[in-house]
């Protein structure tokens, strides 16, 4: 999951109010965050979700909602969308086969339901073929009907270069020789559909796979299945000339500067279990860096009164925001889906005791403070993120009460062992430079000699993704692609998926017992039961093998305007657009 939640944007120019206030003595405030507990999760296979979507209490229609963001969306072509901000806001104009419904209230479960489809998908042979039937009355913004062949066309189109930058899950599952020479590369005259896709009639589409895939309902929630009318597919220009199938359509789009959406008259609420059309117009203002966003939302003058931030408040401006009690009423915080790890290259640091010593030696207090304190991050002790349904809370390597780790235990583990000099690779940003220096100093207390190595930011993940990379320790962040640990433990800890290039398992952890366990879990029909087992597996990996040092769980800290109603931070760590309305 693309890491756009810029929890640690030190580089932003923070400018603000409290010049005089700084002279007062800073005694440091106390208080800790309540830990997030796991969410419950329901998949609606029978299609019992009611349409139209229940009204949001207190909701009024009319008004203009503004979203303030630092730059244009990376992509708005449905085959290319993979970034959390686009995934969230594209729900306003793209409908997909299935989608998630969140209510934002404590304890309410997240539901995976049929959106264009009547249900989350029907399979009779254990997940090898999936059938989706479209609802009645589905229309594009120009009134033309949405047919199953449109869905088939968009999924096939995502195999080509126009889908190269988007998620590849469906493509890899459908096409046996995906990525090899014979692989399907997009619709052609003789092969309009990708392998395994068939449309018996205008209302139904069937996906058939060689091996069972129980995560298909999650995969078809990606915009890869958002319908594109083949006649209006302007290929690389589609990013800026997209056709809407949701409640809003494109009114004006100046790339890099502004996107304005207006109501789509041809969207029928009776066919939609999720979206509403309260607001008259959405304006996306793309020229405000996180600092500017914070100051505009603090002032909230004019149109900014009904605005929301796309990024988090920069860490060093948080104390100023917290100093303003009235402003705090419209601040939204909470854990996000990202976990940050210090991956230990298990092929180079083979001794598990050394890996355990590293876990003990970590100075969590200094690390969190270097990032900007508890509003930005919580110290992590597990591989899975707290927002995952399968999260299990445990701490196998507890620190001493002062939060500076347990250097004595680490030294005891290293007794009699000659610890080699370790190289620590991290991406070259100003924030990472500070953090790297703090980590090096904290491990030095236990006798580790670590030299940081800064790799150019744009090529970082590709460099450390090469098998046999010359790094002992590597920093990385990971967020689930869909709320099932198959997209977390199933990717980070699965040895069978290690290839020459493009790996995501940066600790190159390859333990046969763990690989087998992951396979069985992947093929379990009941995802709820699987969730509990994933939690125990997480603890077992950390206790027996400690392939990573979990550093922190990401947290959101962002502001909405006073006139914004019906919104909350959803699984994409963005303000939930489909339920928002303008109060005054």
């Amino acid at each position: 999951m693309r890491k756009t939640v810029k929890a640690l944007a030190f580089g932003a120019l923070a400018v603000g109010v409290a010049l005089s206030a700084a002279c007062t003595k800073n005694t440091g405030d106390s208080g800790t965050n309540k830990q997030a507990e796991a969410q419950k999760f329901i998949v609606d296979y029978k299609g019992e979700t009611v349409t139209p979507a229940p009204e949001i209490e207190g909701a009024k229609s009319g008004g203009t909602m503004t979203v303030v963001q630092e730059a244009d969306f990376e992509h708005l072509d449905p085959s290319q969308i993979y970034v959390s901000n686009a995934l969230n806001y594209s729900q306003l104009f793209y409908r997909t086969l299935t989608t998630y419904i969140e209510t934002g209230k404590e304890g309410d479960p997240t539901k995976l339901v049929g959106d264009l489809a009547t249900n989350a998908g029907e399979t009779t042979d254990g997940g090898k073929t999936w059938k989706y039937t479209l609802r009645d009355g589905l229309k594009y913004e120009d009134g033309s009907p949405i047919l199953s062949k449109d869905i088939a066309y968009t999924v096939s189109r995502a195999f080509g270069p126009l889908g190269a930058q988007g998620p590849q899950f469906i493509q890899a599952a459908l096409d046996a020789n995906y990525g090899k020479d014979g692989g399907y590369t997009g619709p052609t005259a003789d092969k309009p559909y990708a392998p395994g896709i068939s449309t018996p009639d205008d209302k139904t589409i069937i996906f058939s796979f060689a091996t069972p895939h129980l995560e298909v309902p999650y995969l078809v929630a990606f915009p890869t299945t958002a319908p594109i009318p083949a006649a209006k597919d302007t290929k690389e220009k589609y990013e800026r000339e997209f056709v809407s199938s949701g409640p809003y359509k494109r009114k004006e789009y100046v790339a890099g500067t502004k996107l304005v959406l207006e109501k789509n008259p041809n969207w029928d609420p009776k066919t939609d279990p999720l979206r509403h059309q309260y607001v008259d117009q959405w304006v996306f203002d793309m020229t405000a860096d996180p600092k500017a966003q914070t100051d505009r939302l603090t002032a909230a003058t004019g149109p900014d009164a009904a605005a929301v931030m796309m990024d988090n408040v920069p860490p060093n401006s948080i104390p100023t925001v917290k100093g303003n009690a009235e402003l705090m009423k419209r601040v939204f915080t909470g854990p996000n889906q990202y976990v940050y790890y210090l991956n230990i290259n298990t092929t180079r640091v083979t001794d598990v005791d050394v890996r355990r010593a590293l876990n003990y030696a970590l100075d969590r207090d200094a690390y969190i403070k270097a990032l900007g304190g508890p509003d930005v991050a919580d110290p992590a002790t597990t591989i899975q993120s707290p927002v995952l349904p399968s999260y299990k809370k445990f701490d196998v390597y507890p620190s001493l009460p002062d939060g500076h780790g347990d250097v004595e235990k680490a030294k005891k583990l290293l007794e009699g062992k000659t610890v080699p000099k370790l190289t620590f690779c991290t991406s070259n940003t100003t924030a990472n430079q500070n953090v790297a220096a703090v980590l090096v100093e904290s491990f030095k207390r236990a006798g580790f000699e670590i030299t940081p190595k800064f790799i150019e930011r744009s090529a970082y993940y590709t460099t450390i993704g090469v098998k046999g990379v010359d790094c002992d320790l590597m920093s990385s962040a990971w967020g689930q692609d869909y709320p099932d640990s198959n997209s977390v433990l199933g990717v980070l800890m699965d040895g069978t998926k290690i290839v020459a290039e493009g790996n995501n398992n940066y600790s190159y952890f390859n333990e046969s017992t763990i690989n087998d366990k992951l396979k069985t879990l992947r093929e379990m029909q009941d995802r709820g039961a699987a969730a509990a087992l994933y939690g125990d597996l997480d603890e077992q990996i950390m206790k027996d093998f400690a392939p990573v040092v979990p550093l922190r769980y990401g947290r959101n800290f962002t502001i909405a305007g006073p006139n914004v109603g019906g919104t909350f931070l959803n699984q994409y760590s963005q303000f939930n657009a489909t339920s928002s309305y303008v109060k005054s």
Partner: protein
């Protein structure tokens, strides 16, 4: 810039008693009359030095520069006396969100704090490093980069300027075109493009580039883009000096081209060279800080004022003292260089009076 008038012969009968009576040259006073002090001949250099010493602002700027240079040289000694390194974590000096405890960003002259060590300029938010030590080592970085980069670019500029100016003909055409070509590059973009390239070549197998080599890269990049203005100025001077009689005399005496260029013409150029040197120093300090501001300058753990400013800008509201120290020190250093540059130019070329 006005062309400093060549030191050559003054027109014999210039209307000395014209309206704006210039300062009468003491050397010309009547020897018979009761002249106040004996007249000895002084070289232009001594004259310039005498004017420089008399100039109050120049003295002030020399003091400030001296202060910074001494700090830069004695940095390790100061560290021993002060007892604390520049990159010593002290998270306990920070509150929960990483801001320094106490007044004015953690300034504390007593030792009763968590790190039981004095912090005369406070500590950096986030890492708790001591700002005074960062300031001391930061001076070293700024001065080294500025001095070496300017020296290198002036040397390149002078050599190319002399060769182009003296040889003339197609060499001059080619070099002048090369100067225009180099001037057409936007410096900031080129710096950002070149630095990673040079780093990949410098990096060892594991891609690690030691701090000293990173600084060397920046110095090389600055001198690659800094020499053109000096070259152009020197070329102009050499063209005018080339016609002078003593150059013809040297050629007549059988002197080779190299000798004429570097033994005859170069000594006459030290005035403009010194002026460009002292004026481009502040520009280099600013440019180095700007590179750090964009995050491509000197990397951790080498302390650097530019990077400190970049970090401190984001703490401006919550811990504004952190911004004052690096911001003020760069400003003071650049101001001192500017004043010194002006003073040297006025001392060497009194015609452009203050």
């Amino acid at each position: 810039m006005s062309e400093p008038n060549p030191r050559g012969t003054e027109p014999a009968d210039s209307a000395a008693d014209s309206a704006a009576v210039g300062v009468l040259d003491v050397a010309a006073s009547e020897e018979g009359a009761k002249a106040p002090k004996a007249i000895e001949g002084r070289s232009p250099g001594q004259l310039a030095w005498m004017r420089l010493r008399r100039d109050r602002t120049a003295r002030g700027s020399i003091w400030v520069l001296g202060f910074f240079i001494v700090i830069a040289i004695l940095a390790p000694l100061i560290e021993k006396v002060y007892g604390l390194g520049p990159t010593v974590n002290s998270p306990d000096l920070l509150d929960r969100s990483g801001l320094p405890l106490g007044y004015f960003g953690g300034i504390d002259f007593t030792t009763n704090n968590a790190s039981n060590h004095i912090h005369i300029l406070g500590v950096m938010p986030g890492t708790g490093w001591d700002i005074f030590m960062q300031f001391v080592y930061g001076a070293r970085t700024s001065l080294i980069v500025a001095a070496l980069a300017t020296l290198l670019s002036v040397v390149i500029g002078v050599v190319i300027g002399i060769v182009a100016g003296y040889l003339g003909g197609w060499i001059d055409q080619a070099l002048t075109w090369f100067i225009d070509y180099m001037l057409a590059f936007p410096f900031v973009l080129m710096a950002i493009a070149i630095i990673p390239i040079v780093n990949t070549y410098l990096a060892d197998s594991s891609g690690y580039v030691p701090p000293a080599e990173r600084m060397a890269t920046i110095i090389v990049v600055f001198s690659l883009f800094g020499w053109m203005s000096t070259a152009r100025l020197v070329r102009g001077q050499v063209i005018s000096l080339r016609e002078r009689e003593y150059v013809d005399a040297a050629r007549a005496a059988g002197a080779g081209r190299g000798h004429i260029m570097f033994k005859q013409i170069l000594p006459n150029l030290w005035a403009p060279i010194l002026v460009t040197f002292s004026l481009s120093l502040p520009a280099t300090v600013t440019a180095e800080a700007a590179l750090s501001f964009l995050g491509i300058g000197v990397q951790q753990p080498t302390p650097d004022w530019g990077r400190m400013i970049n970090d401190s800008l984001s703490y401006m509201q919550t811990d504004w003292m952190y911004l004052v120290i690096p911001g003020f020190s760069i400003w003071a250093l650049v101001l001192a260089f500017n004043l010194f540059g002006d003073a040297t130019r006025d001392a060497l070329d009194p015609k452009s009076s203050r």
